[in-house]
Structure formats: structure tokens, C-alpha cells
Amino acid sequence: MLYINCPHCGLRSQNEFSYGGDATVKRPDLNKEISDQDWDNFVYNRKSLRGKHWELWQHISGCRQWIKVERDTSTHEIFNTLKANEETI
């Protein structure tokens, strides 16, 4: 069982959360020229490495806020959690 420290509600079990994927993926800036490669990188391509991984979770059965979680993908240890609008370290 993962225990995630929601920045709004405190420590809760993973049962209350829903996963949202890699948090470092940035949507291309729509005011600029966007190449196909930029769209591919945003929509499809993922690094998905072993080790520390910043990812999005939604506290769906709690405050319903999206949050950022830094978790190790090989040990599942959670190091950090941030509100969605806070920048990753």
C-alpha cells in the first residue's frame, strides 16, 4: 500500500487517489510554431525511467485536487508531494 501525503489533506492511503502520469510533460506553447515532434513528445513519448519520478495524482476520494508526487519507480518510496501549481524541485 502506498501512502501519499496530500498537500491539502495530509497522509492518506493510495485507495483515495487516482494516477495521472508523468508530471514533467509540458503542453507545447500554443502561441508558437509547434512541430510534429513537439506534439509527439507531449502526447506519446515518455522517459519512464527507473528511479525518482515526478508524477500527477488526483485525490479523487478526498479533496479532488490534482497534486504532484515524487516517487521512486523501483522502490515505490515517496519523497515529496506538491500542489499542482508548485514547481518541481
Binding site: 500500500m1 506519446y44 515518455r46 522517459k47 525511467l49 519507480t73
Partner: protein, 418 residues
């Protein structure tokens, strides 16, 4: 190579089975190979076997970080099927079904292929319509499919909950009678033994640390057991694809996720089909030892841990008990996890890359085991001929850019949703 038969079995019985040849050797890596396959799982071993058998390329090495067959080929639920709607998936998988049917004879190794049939249960009229459409598509591609109504399903698998007041009543199901199961370890060992006998070097406990690329062409690789030159390299590393892709400066439409499976204590024969629950993600069959073999959803977050978490298992088994209430009386014998190379449209990638001499085989999601022979066969063709075969033409790497996705389940890019 020593042929396995009733006669060799009797002969070796006289020497207390102490004089059997080793099934494969343990060679030290040579300085150079024509082809190096990275990954000694089912797909890697099959690729090496078909390179030797179909294309006469025998100066081949398989480089495996751990031991052969220690990854997903030893961790799956052994289901073999070709019940796909899209042509690319259906024709590829059905080609594989033919290879499965001949495999034990072909490899002189009993892989215990058991074409017992698979039934996908339907729980609504809408789902029956979808299954009718999929079944028709399958039949147009020459694959056997039967749409069953509620009574027909009841006749075949009466242990499923047919009560009137359940949350997901059984409306019927789609059956592929020729689908089935096989003994997964035997598949890896059978391919390894034959590949080895034709001259392939199976090099275990050898980790790939990096690649030697000059002017966009692959020259070799650096491993924990020294540098190896290679004209061509094939990547067959499933859940570790992203780790090697990083060493190649490639970012792929793949995420690595954790999938669990489990078996119950062995019980007397009750289920002679593979059955899937249609209102969630749960599949079940009974092994030859009598264990109920079960699996379902991914754990749902990127992971390289080959072990699972209990909430997902509980969720999956809740579905199982909803479908077959007797399961609640069984004790769990074992649970385990494997890491899946989840592609962004649910279909695999078997293709060349932008690096000359480097070939990619990944993205198998939930369906890697059943694809073992077809994947090995088409990947061997792609490597040997330096061009894709028509069977894997749809499994291109650039389909994500061009929009030719093969999204069989219509889930989009959220690979963890099932």
C-alpha cells in the same frame, strides 16, 4: 543435439537421468557477432531461433542481464489467443497461432499447448453488439469465433454466477475455441535449447552498459562482460526498454508498469476454458496442476518493481469473486508481478529505428506471451532482411506521429487505465 523422445527417456532412466546433455551451453562472449539480441526472454530467444532456422544466421548472441526466462515469460498467465478486431493485430496473432500449434514438434520440446478456448463474457446488450462485431471481424480474417448467448455460456461454464440479481448479469459471450494456454517456461527453454543447438550463444548474467554508435550506425555494445562488436542489434527487453532507450538517446511511446498475477491452491478440475470478466479486467484459467491462474489490472503507476501491491490484487479478485463466487473459498498460493512495456495505443512495436542496424521490439502490454512465436518470427525477418514483414508492418514506431494508431481497446494514451 540429443533428441527428446520416449526412447531417450527410457535410455536415460537406466543411468538414473544423470547423463542428459545440458539443454544449452554457458559460453563466454565472442568479440564479434553478426547479430546480438538483447534480452533472453521468450521474444529474444524466439528471435534468435528464427534467425538461425529461417534465415541461416547463426553467428548470434543473446545477451541477458539475469537468467533466460526470468522475466515476463516466466511471470505471465500463459494465455494464447488471436481474438482481435483490427486486421494488423488479428493477422499477426493468427500467424502466431499456427506457430503455437506446431511448436512442440518444431522445438522437440513439450510446451503443453492446450487449445481449450477462451470466453469473453458480455454483461449488456451493447457489449453483445460489440462482441458480434469483433467476432465477425475475426471470422473475416479466418479466425474462429462464436457468439454465445446466456444459455450457451451457462452450458459451457456453469460455475459462473448466473443469478438474476447480480450487478453484472451474464448476457452471453464471445468464444474463440482455438485459443488456449501453454506452459510458459517450456516455451523459453524449448527456444533456448534449439537456438543453442544451431550455434547461438546464450550469454547470461551480462548487463548492457552502453552502445557504440558512429555516424548513425550501430557497431557494438559495452557489457559487464566486455565489449562486443555487432553488425546488427535487436532490442527485446520488454519492461526495461526505456532504460536502454535512454542509453540510445531515444524517447519512446512506452511506459513501464507493474502487472500482477496470482494462483490459488490446487483444486480438482472445474474450469476447462479461459474466461474473462467483461465488466472489469479479470481473467482466469485452471492450470494442469489444478491451480486457478488469475490476473487483471495493472497496479496503475509507473513501476520497475517486480512485485505488486495489495489494493490492486484485492480489486482484481473482487471482480473474480463477482464472476465466480466459489473463488472466495480458495486460499491464495502465490502472487507475483512483472513489468510491462505499455505502449501508448496498446499495440506493440516491431520495427527498424533511425540508427542503422538497430531494431526495436517492445510495447507488448498485456499480450506479450501469446505473441512470442510471431514476434520472434517477424523480428528475425526484420533484422535479417533489414525491412519489416507485412505481418509487422502495422507495428511501426512512427505510427504515433503519422496517426496510424492501433488502439484496439480505444483507451488512448493513458496506458494505466484498463
Amino acid at each position: 543435439m540429443q533428441k527428446y523422445s520416449i526412447f531417450s527417456l527410457i535410455k536415460n532412466a537406466f543411468s538414473n537421468h544423470k547423463k542428459w546433455d545440458l539443454a544449452w551451453k554457458d559460453p563466454t562472449p565472442k568479440k564479434e557477432y553478426d547479430v546480438v539480441i538483447i534480452g533472453g526472454g521468450g521474444h529474444g530467444l524466439a528471435t534468435a531461433y528464427y534467425l538461425a532456422k529461417e534465415h541461416n544466421i547463426t553467428n548470434v548472441a543473446i545477451i541477458e542481464k539475469g537468467w533466460i526466462g526470468g522475466g515476463n515469460v516466466g511471470r505471465n498467465t500463459t494465455i494464447i489467443r488471436s481474438n482481435y478486431m483490427y486486421d494488423d493485430n488479428a493477422l499477426f496473432s493468427e500467424f502466431g497461432m499456427d506457430l503455437w500449434r506446431k511448436m512442440s514438434q518444431d522445438l522437440n520440446y513439450n510446451v503443453m499447448f492446450s487449445p481449450r478456448g477462451i470466453i469473453n463474457l458480455a454483461h449488456s446488450d451493447a457489449q453483445m453488439n460489440i462482441y458480434a462485431r469483433r467476432g465477425n471481424s475475426m471470422r473475416l480474417n479466418g479466425i474462429d469465433a462464436e457468439l454465445l448467448n446466456r444459455e450457451q455460456v451457462r452450458e459451457i461454464i456453469p460455475m459462473v454466477d448466473f443469478s438474476e440479481n447480480v450487478r453484472f448479469p451474464i448476457f452471453g459471450g464471445l468464444m474463440q475455441p482455438s485459443a488456449g494456454t501453454a506452459r510458459h517456461d517450456a516455451v523459453a527453454w524449448g527456444y533456448a535449447r534449439q537456438a543453442d543447438s544451431m550455434g547461438v550463444d546464450i550469454i547470461q548474467n551480462c548487463e548492457v552498459n552502453g552502445f557504440d554508435i558512429t555516424a548513425g550506425k550501430i557497431n557494438g555494445l559495452r557489457t559487464s562482460r566486455g565489449n562486443i562488436k555487432a553488425k546488427k542489434i535487436g532490442l527485446c527487453v520488454a519492461g526495461s526498454t526505456n532504460i536502454l532507450a535512454e542509453k540510445l538517446n531515444m524517447t519512446l511511446p512506452i511506459e513501464t508498469h507493474l502487472l500482477q498475477a496470482c494462483v490459488s491452491e490446487p483444486v480438482k478440475p472445474i474450469l476447462d476454458k479461459v474466461v474473462t470478466f467483461g465488466a472489469g479486467h479479470f481473467y482466469i484459467s485452471q492450470s494442469d496442476k489444478g491451480e486457478m491462474v488469475m490476473g487483471g489490472d495493472l497496479d496503475g503507476y509507473n513501476s520497475y518493481a517486480q512485485r505488486g501491491n495489495l489494493p490492486t490484487l484485492q480489486h482484481v479478485l473482487t471482480e473474480g469473486i463477482a464472476m465466480m463466487p466459489f473463488l472466495s473459498k480458495l486460499k491464495m498460493l502465490r502472487t507475483w508481478g512483472g513489468i510491462m512495456d505499455m505502449s501508448m495505443d496498446g499495440s506493440p512495436i516491431i520495427d527498424k529505428t533511425h540508427i542503422e542496424g538497430l531494431y526495436l521490439n517492445c510495447g507488448w502490454c498485456y499480450g506479450g506471451f501469446k505473441a512470442t512465436p510471431a514476434s520472434g518470427w517477424t523480428f528475425a525477418h526484420t533484422i535479417a532482411q533489414d525491412r519489416v514483414h507485412e505481418l509487422n508492418a502495422g507495428y511501426s514506431l512512427n505510427r504515433f506521429s503519422t496517426g496510424h494508431l492501433l488502439d484496439e481497446k480505444g483507451l488512448g494514451t493513458k496506458t494505466w487505465i484498463s
